[in-house]
Amino acid sequence: MVTTVTSLGRSGLSDWMIQRVSAWVMTAYLVFIVGYFFANPNLDYAQWSELNSSLPMRMFSLITILSIAAHAWIGLWCVLTDYITVRLIGPKATAIRIFFQLGMIAASLLYVVWAIDILWGI
C-alpha cells in the first residue's frame, strides 16, 4: 500500500471510478451541446441565453465543470507523479512536484468557482 496525500480520492479505486464517471459526463455534455447546435442552426443569443439560464442546464453544466476539474486533477496528478520524481530528476523533485500539484489543484478549484460565477450570472 502506497500512501498519497495529494491525489483526489486518496484511493486508487476511487480515482479510477471518478475518472470513468467524469469521462461519461463530459461525453454526454459534448454530445448534447453538439446535438443542440445541429438541431438549432439559426441559434441566436436570446435562445442560447434562455437555455443556459434554465436550472437543469445550469446543473448539467456545473456537473460537467466539476467532472472536468476532477478528471484533470487525477490525470495531471498521474503525469506529475510519473515524470517529476527523485528517481528521474534528483532530490529537488519532491518540492517541485508539490509546487505543481498544489498549483494544479488551486487552478482546478479556481476554474470551478469562476464557472459557477458565470453560470449563475447569466
Partner: protein, 234 residues
C-alpha cells in the same frame, strides 16, 4: 555474416555504456539469439549475460532483442534480425550491473510485496486442500509466469515508478493468489492494492502482453483485480 550490435558496460572500466559491433557466421542457420551470444562469448569471454536452462523455463536470459523484450534462448534469429542486423541490449528500466546483466532487486521487491504464497489459517486437512477442476482451471494462465521480467521492464508505468507500481509480473502473481480457492486472505490482499500506484498505475497499453515469452496476459489479470476491488468496495 550477421551484424550484431551489443550493449557493453563494465562500470569498473567504462565511463559510460557503448554499443560494440560484431560479425557472426551463423552458416545460414536459424539459431536462437542465445546461441549467437554463446558464440560471441567464446571469442570475447568478458561479454556478460545471464543464462541457465536455455529452453525458456528458467527466465534468466531476458534481454531486449532488436527493440523487443524476450528470452534469448527461445527467440530465433528469423524473428529478431532486421536488415541483417541484430541489436541486443539489457532489459530497460532497471540498473545495469554489467553488459546485459541487470539488477533485478526492485523487480523482486515488488514481487515480495504481493505475498506470493498461499495464506490459509484454517486447520490443515489430513492430506491436502482439495480444489474442484473448475477452481483449478482459474489458475491457468497465471501460474506459468517464470519471473523473467520481460513484461515489467517493457511497461512505462514500471519505468517511472518501479518502487510504487507492482508491475505486470507482480500483479499477474497477485491475481494468481486472489483467484486461488484455497487462499483465505483475499480481503487483506485487496486492501494492500487499493492505492493510486500499486494496481491503478496500469493504463492498459498492453506492452506486457505483447512481450510475454510465455504468452500470458497480465493486463487481463489486472482487469480481474480491478473488478474484485470494485466488488469489494461497492
Amino acid at each position: 555474416m550477421l551484424n550484431v550490435s551489443i550493449y557493453r558496460y563494465n562500470p569498473e572500466i567504462d565511463s559510460e555504456p557503448y554499443m560494440q559491433d560484431f560479425k557472426v557466421d551463423t552458416q545460414g542457420k536459424d539459431v536462437m539469439v542465445l546461441d549467437v551470444l554463446e558464440k560471441l562469448k567464446t571469442e570475447d569471454p568478458t561479454l556478460s549475460f545471464r543464462r541457465s536452462c536455455r529452453e525458456g523455463v528458467c527466465g534468466s536470459d531476458g534481454v531486449n532483442i532488436s527493440g523487443k523484450n524476450g528470452l534469448a534462448c527461445i527467440t530465433p534469429l528469423s524473428e529478431a534480425v532486421k536488415g541483417n542486423k541484430l541489436i541486443i541490449r539489457p532489459l530497460p528500466g532497471l540498473p545495469v550491473i554489467r553488459d546485459l546483466v541487470i539488477d533485478m532487486s526492485q523487480f523482486y521487491a515488488q514481487y515480495e510485496k504481493i505475498q506470493p504464497y498461499m495464506i490459509n489459517n484454517t486447520p490443515a486437512p489430513a492430506i491436502e486442500r482439495l480444489q474442484s477442476q473448475e477452481e483449478r482451471a482459474k489458475l491457468d494462465g497465471l501460474y506459468e509466469c517464470i519471473l523473467c521480467a520481460c513484461c515489467s521492464t517493457a511497461c512505462p508505468s514500471f519505468w517511472w515508478n518501479p518502487d510504487k507500481f507492482i508491475g505486470p509480473s507482480g500483479l499477474l502473481q497477485a491475481y494468481r493468489f486472489l483467484a486461488d480457492s484455497r487462499d483465505t486472505a483475499t480481503e487483506e490482499r485487496l486492501a494492500n492494492l487499493d492505492d493510486p500506484f500499486s494496481v491503478f498505475r496500469c493504463h492498459g497499453i498492453m506492452n506486457c502482453v505483447q512481450v510475454c515469452p510465455k504468452g500470458l496476459n497480465p493486463t487481463k489479470a489486472i482487469g480481474h483485480i480491478r473488478s474484485m476491488l470494485i466488488r469489494s468496495a461497492t
